[in-house]
Subunit: 314 residues, 2 copies
């Protein structure tokens, strides 16, 4: 069985694969058009190199492993027509994103930005305002793989979690789950409001001035999902009026955030340049998904983790 | 039964106590010398107001609840002689201290200080160096109540924990426990080295140049215990030589840290002014210890939580 990687992985990662799967021939870091692609049963790719032309020539291909969370730009109809199995690394962002969310929450709670400023002035001042996370309540918009991982960690810190999704169906690591249309009445309970919602017709503009007025004046609002969840002017007004305490924003209506934006200079906002999912361990994590599936594939088990239905696209 | 609080608590906390314990008479916020102290079976105090004179006059006193972690300055011999039960709030610092430790670890891992600097320059730069905490290894010097709470949270993040104490006896939430004399050989495994050790004859100067040379060049060293664990010059040299990657220091050989100290200005050190245990919820937590015990006391159960042996002092 031959496996092609169309992207680069580290030497030790190559060696480990060869050692763990001695019966398999691996070819690493070759472009789809610089190799006899018809020899490969399995192709591991970031996705964008798999064109209809490549598919035509890849006559042995049975499984496409896409080391990316989205496959919407791939020729899914052709993949479906040829009966090629396709899987991805859905959920790969949950670890770095959940670590990012907790980093911001704890850093603000323990006043770390204030300590940095004091250090610059060589100032020993113990009167910094610090709070405890334990015993607080977080409302998580979008309790899917990422939202539930945030919920799991928050619960470990003794935080009560309320998930909010379209259906209101129970979600993992949420003490309670509510529907979008019940949001307004539950916002007053939340010390922290976190969105990891994608951009869909149902989520665009979901949060309005009314929602921010319903939050606690001390509330921390965080958006790691998509910038079109709420108009920038609504957030700016909420921060300037003191409707909420602080905002941590990783996503914006317009990215990069224009230099003219008032958000850059408000004292109660933290700007992050859409990096919440970044990680130095992306390939390591992707290989974990791959090797788990390769083990199955080798044993004739085609019920892979993170299979995609090419007709639905997810 | 009469209970005296010699310190101030919030109105709603007073109301809650009265509502939860209707059979008990509470007297709040009175000094021991401005009241008929002989009427009180229970005194809730920070400790420093309980002198031998007060003890002589408190003829009904059966239980001293000390809302502090240390009781070493109290007249313990007299308390023991009178058969007065004494309890404290040992462990009250574990929540804020563990939250502090995780705040620093995650904030550095997700490059939050770098993002703050970028925000000041209105700079949208996604090329910040961020790492994942999951899969790393932490070595915790002093895995007692606080160290174990740090271990519990680290394990929730998928971190392997190695505890290090004098005895080598297994400790809570440690994947492995080693003895002080085995430390040097295990330091090379640790991505994070955290001390919450108290100052004792065995811990003074425990860490030397040799230990820092044994750590990873990328290691994060954190001290939330006591400053005499290691000489300041040893830490400064390790940071300047690149023996370790970063240090977070909350305690120092001399406090406040003198303005002349080189530590203030090294780029790979975070200075915190001995505030890791501070919390806006101290009294709330202390009352949790108290009400749990008051419930027992009311039912005739004298096996209180956090009892102190006045002859040993802990």
């Amino acid at each position: 069985m031959n496996v092609l990687f169309t992207f680069r992985i580290k030497d030790e990662q190559m060696e480990k694969l060869k050692a763990d799967f001695p019966g398999i021939q691996f070819c690493f870091n070759k472009k789809a058009d610089e190799i006899a692609i018809d020899e490969f049963e399995i192709i591991v790719t970031y996705g964008e190199d798999i064109t209809t032309d490549v598919l035509e020539r890849a006559t042995s291909l049975k499984w496409l492993m896409v080391a990316s969370a989205g496959v919407e730009k791939m020729p899914l109809a052709e993949i479906a027509a040829k009966g090629i199995v396709i899987s991805n690394v859905r959920g790969i962002h949950k670890t770095p994103m959940a670590e990012t969310a907790l980093a911001h929450i704890l850093s603000l709670g323990r006043a770390l930005p204030a300590l940095v400023e004091q250090q610059k002035r060589k100032e020993w001042n113990t009167k910094v305002r610090q709070t405890e996370l334990r015993g607080s309540t977080a409302l998580i918009l979008g309790p899917g793989a990422i939202g539930s991982e945030i919920g799991r960690l928050l619960q470990a810190f003794g935080v009560r979690t309320i998930g909010c999704n379209h259906s209101g169906n129970p979600a993992g690591f949420m003490d309670d789950t509510i529907r979008f249309d019940g949001l307004l009445s539950r916002l007053p309970e939340a010390d922290i409001v976190i969105s990891v919602l994608p951009s869909t017709e149902k989520t665009k503009g979901l949060l309005t001035e009314e929602h921010f007025k319903a939050m606690k004046e001390t509330a921390l609002f965080m958006n790691f999902g998509r910038g079109d969840l709420v108009k920038e002017t609504v957030i700016v007004d909420a921060l300037k009026n003191g409707d909420i305490g602080h905002a941590v924003l990783d996503v914006f209506e317009k990215e990069p955030l224009p230099v003219e934006s008032e958000l850059w200079t408000l004292s109660n906002v933290t700007i992050s340049p859409h990096v919440s999912s970044h990680s130095g361990k992306y390939i390591e994590r992707a290989l974990e998904f791959f090797t788990e599936n390769l083990e199955k594939w080798q044993n004739g088990d085609k019920d892979l983790v993170n299979l995609i239905d090419p007709e639905k696209g997810y």
